[in-house]
């Protein structure tokens, strides 16, 4: 890491600064707020914070369309990172709005609304960083707040179990990553990804085992975060025990940061070992999606089902990484965008049901269309998109992923993906069946939580619109791959 970091100019990273400063200000702001309005103030400030960052990003975007900008050789502003900023901010905004109703009675709200944007900042920095040390710092900035967010309801034993499990796995992930980074530094003498890539391509073959070992460490370290089977064990328990919006945040946000890091570090930094990691990712993809889908079919609660569904979707994205042609990476990025929207919306719907029906059991979804019609309808759109039925956006990203796999000669992986998609319909359609066909246990019409409904409606519209008009997003993704 160079010292130029200290002399970097402020301007191009403005959203990062505002996110950091505004987040830290949250507790103070909520104290200043009038006593009665305290809970509204911290949530509102947090939403403002994220929206402001989004606005700045959109405002500053045109200047990055040209050549990528390097800041202090450790952060790279290119279309790739901008793409991920959009994904992370979108997820964070969704989750924050939905949290408003969910967290309304929690005494630790200021902390919650401070940590959520801070973790988002960590994700954004992961996507920005082209230096392993900065990547590691960003990784920790992303992870540590989420450990606390998971157990924000500190008297709930389930949440504590979830948090402990998540923390242990997260800490192992960080430790393994750090070990991998130190090995790579030992081989190449640098932590800058582009230099690592150059060095590895001219490497002495005696060092090959070390490079492979560090590759394995990276795969495991990132694999824990993206819930690739067999490193997924924390996910179902954590998603179930955590406050449901935070589960959406983990599945929609931090998992996607793992993919950003994999693309930066492994796909770009270790291109030389393509044969090795291509094979590893292909196997991981097959195991992950198959296991996720089969396990999802056997779950009794909706949050656990979504956890396994999101594991399965990590498997679909791993197909693109295994292929790693430009079409494959485009598929990964497009699916990152789509799945971020879908999965966070699905968890928001789960949160709405949990709030009103007081249960996450699949039985409590019986006849949901009668007492929560908007939630049921939007959740149906989300589930259809998760299945990948056209014209939702989930169809087009899967189309690209499977096409890329078959195009690259991995016919078996493409067919496995398609069959998995068909299989996954069984449990998604099962929930639609419960909501629309089965009779409800109680017939009380409940008032749907407005903040959750708002997010769900926006997400459903996005799912349909970005599905039908996917050409501009695809063009943006194609352009962003060129800048990598």
């Amino acid at each position: 890491m160079q010292l130029e970091l200290l002399s970097l100019e402020l301007e191009p990273l403005l959203p990062i600064y505002t996110l950091a400063i505004f987040s830290i200000m949250t507790p103070a702001i909520s104290r200043i707020g009038i006593k009665v309005l305290k809970r509204e103030v911290s949530a509102g400030w947090s939403i403002f914070n994220l929206l402001f960052a989004l606005a700045i990003t959109i405002f500053e975007m045109p200047r990055y369309f040209g050549t990528p900008e390097l800041i202090g050789d450790v952060l790279k502003i290119d279309l790739f990172s901008l793409f991920f900023i959009f994904v992370f901010l979108l997820v964070a905004i969704f989750i924050t709005i939905a949290s408003y109703r969910y967290m309304i009675d929690n005494p630790n709200q200021e902390i919650y609304y401070t940590l959520l944007p801070l973790s988002t900042l960590g994700m954004i920095l992961v996507a920005f960083s082209v230096d392993l040390i900065v990547l590691y710092l960003a990784w920790e900035l992303m992870s540590i707040p989420t450990y606390i967010l998971v157990c924000i309801r500190k008297d709930d034993p389930l949440a504590n179990e979830a948090a402990v499990k998540y923390f242990i796995f997260g800490a192992i992930s960080s430790a393994i990553l750090l070990f991998g980074i130190s090995l790579i530094y030992g081989i190449t003498g640098t932590t800058r990804i582009i230099l690592i890539a150059n060095y590895l391509s001219t490497m002495d073959s005696t060092l090959n085992p070390f490079a492979l070992f560090s590759l394995i460490l990276f795969v495991v370290g990132f694999g824990i975060k993206i819930t690739a089977v067999p490193f997924h064990m924390w996910a179902p328990d954590t998603y179930e025990g955590a406050p449901t919006p935070i589960s959406g945040f983990l599945a929609g946000g931090s998992k996607k940061a793992g993919f950003a890091a994999i693309i930066r570090v492994i796909i770009i930094g270790m291109t030389v070992l393509r044969v090795d990691w291509g094979f590893v990712f292909a196997i991981l993809a097959l195991v992950t999606m198959t296991y996720g889908n089969i396990a999802a079919l056997m779950q009794k609660t909706f949050t656990r089902l979504l956890a396994y569904s999101s594991i399965a979707h990590a498997g679909y994205m791993l197909i693109g990484l295994a292929v790693s042609t430009s079409l494959g990476i485009a598929g990964v990025l497009y699916h990152v965008f789509n799945h971020a929207i879908m999965t966070s919306a699905a968890f928001v719907a789960a949160a709405a049901v949990l709030l009103k029906i007081k249960s996450a059991d699949l039985e409590s979804y019986n006849g949901l269309s009668k007492h929560m019609p908007i939630t049921a309808f939007t959740l149906t759109i989300v589930l259809v998109a998760l299945t990948g039925i056209p014209p939702t956006n989930g169809f087009f990203s899967k189309l690209i992923l499977f096409t890329a796999a078959i195009d690259a000669g991995l016919l078996w992986l493409g067919i496995a993906g398609v069959l998995n998609t068909a299989f996954s319909l069984a449990y998604y359609a099962w929930i639609i069946k419960r909501m629309y066909i089965d009779e409800p246990n109680n017939l009380n019409v409940v008032k749907e939580p407005i903040s959750c409904v708002f997010v769900l409606v926006i997400a459903s519209i996005l799912i349909i619109v970005t599905g039908i008009f996917s050409a501009p997003i695809l063009d943006f993704i194609m352009a962003s791959i060129q800048t990598l």
Partner: protein
């Protein structure tokens, strides 16, 4: 930028109809029903207009539209019709219109959702038959699944949940494999594209064609359905409400037949005809299985469902004969079967509604109890048997001739209508002619159906007789396109 053509308007109108009949039906049942019927009539008139203005259709696609959608993936919104899709478009709008009318007194719960889904289903079905891009085709193909799943699952019989889940799992597994075939077709073309016309001119290597044929086979075969992939259909038919059975048997199954003609024969004909004996064998199995198993059914609806499996076997047989007579017979058979089976299914709903049962062993003496219903039932049975001067006779005769020309051992297929005649006559003997006092299993109360229930059923009689007497009305639309398809091989 060209404007939106009549075909897109039909799709848009059915979507608008779905939204309006749902929106108004929420407040007022009667409004929902009337709007739905109005929109289906409008769509039927539009498709009649398509037929009349396009007759003679010539041998090219007409009313084509092409709008760029996702150029980087070779996806464009491309629709158009020719003589093969036109009869199916006509069948879709006709059957949806009559099914909607038939639902008037049969469906009494959740009116708004029902009619909304029905029109959405119509949009999906129309879209499948008009699309000229594989992704658009697949889009509509999948859109059909969701309304059908809900229509069976919400308004079906006692075992509806099982039937709905079985339906969606079977058909979706089939369409997933079909989708792999589409991706392979996409990759076979240079530049990679899903466009139908470009794919038609693309030379694909034989082994590649074989993989594509195997994968797409499952999608079409499950829909058609080909024995042994037919089990979902029986459950779906038994549980589905009668108007939905009309659409299921009348139009949904044609998606499979249409897929075989449009995709198999147009895009990779060499391998399809190389394996024609395999398909013809399957077709014979389907024909005889459907006819044979129908003999022993007690449930009237199950019997009609098996009849329709039998008839769809003729479609498969005609498709793979490789000669003009067989192919145009297959397309004509799809339209005729839609009318005949639509009549019978809708009538089975009327019988259930007024007699309270569909059990062939319980029903008796309908001749005196419900004479008008009986007349229609006997007519429908005659139409299904392939009685001369009714439309099915012409198309089944064409398929026979084509099949015998292609492979002489298929002559045994003439036995199949014999079996069909046998069980229909036997059924008529039991439910129509048998006196009341000979029934041991229990009596039932019944009364003649209301006129409003019988009118939609009676409308089916018109195309059946008209096309039986003047088959050239429809054949002059079908034959040129079939000829062109066969010339391209």
């Amino acid at each position: 930028m060209q404007g939106i053509g009549i075909i897109s308007w039909m799709l848009i109108i059915s979507l608008i109809g779905a939204i309006l009949s749902y929106g108004f039906g929420k407040r007022n049942d009667l409004a929902g029903k009337s709007i739905a019927i109005g929109f289906t009539i409008l769509l039927f008139i539009l498709s009649l207009y398509l037929w009349i203005s396009a007759n003679p259709v010539g041998d090219d696609f007409i009313f084509t539209e092409n709008i760029t959608w996702i150029p980087s993936l070779g996806i464009n919104y491309s629709v158009g019709i020719d003589g093969i899709s036109l009869p199916l478009v006509l069948a879709t709008t006709l059957l949806t219109m009559l099914a909607t009318m038939g639902s008037w007194s049969m469906i009494s719960t959740k009116i708004a959702q029902y009619y909304g889904l029905l029109l959405l289903l119509e949009m999906g079905l129309l879209g499948v038959f008009v699309s000229l891009n594989l992704i658009v085709f697949f889009l509509f193909w999948e859109i059909v699944l969701v309304p059908m799943f809900l229509l069976i699952g919400i308004w079906g019989g006692p075992n509806r949940k099982y039937a709905a889940m079985k339906f969606i799992i079977f058909t979706n597994a089939g369409s997933a494999l079909m989708f792999v075939g589409f991706i392979l077709l996409f990759l076979a073309a240079t530049p990679h594209t899903f466009d139908f016309f470009i794919l038609m001119d693309t030379e694909i290597s034989k082994p590649f064609q074989l993989i594509i044929m195997i994968t797409t086979f499952f999608g079409f075969a499950v829909k058609l359905p080909v024995v042994p992939l037919h089990t979902w259909l029986l459950d779906a038919h038994v549980e589905a409400p009668a108007p939905i059975s009309v659409l299921l048997a009348g139009v949904l199954l044609k998606m499979g037949g249409y897929g075989f003609i449009r995709i198999n024969l147009s895009l990779f004909p060499e391998i399809s005809f190389a394996y024609a004996p395999f398909f013809i064998g399957l077709a014979l199995l389907t024909i005889f299985y459907g006819a044979g198993v129908a003999l022993i059914q007690r449930d009237l609806k199950m019997m009609i469902a098996l009849t329709s499996i039998n008839h769809m076997g003729f479609v498969l047989l005609g498709t793979f004969t490789g000669n003009l007579l067989g192919l145009s017979g297959a397309v004509f058979q799809m339209f005729n079967h839609a009318c005949a089976v639509g009549l019978l299914f809708l009538l089975s709903g009327v019988i259930q509604h007024n007699a309270g049962t569909r059990d062939i062993n319980k029903l008796s003496d309908m001749l005196h109890r419900m004479p008008k219903t009986t007349a229609l039932f006997v007519f429908g049975a005659l139409a299904s048997m392939g009685f001369p001067f009714l439309s099915s006779f012409v198309s089944e005769f064409m398929v026979f001739m084509g099949a015998i020309n292609a492979l002489s051992f298929t002559v045994i297929v003439v036995l199949a209508p014999g079996i069909v005649t046998a069980y229909f006559v036997w059924t008529i003997d039991r439910i129509v002619l048998r006196p009341k006092n000979q029934v041991q299993i229990g009596q039932y109360e019944s009364h003649e159906a209301k006129m409003s229930e019988l009118i939609p059923v009676a409308i089916f009689v018109i195309p059946i007789i008209l096309l039986g007497l003047f088959p050239s009305l429809m054949l002059q639309t079908i034959v040129p396109s079939c000829q062109k398809l066969l010339e391209n091989i």
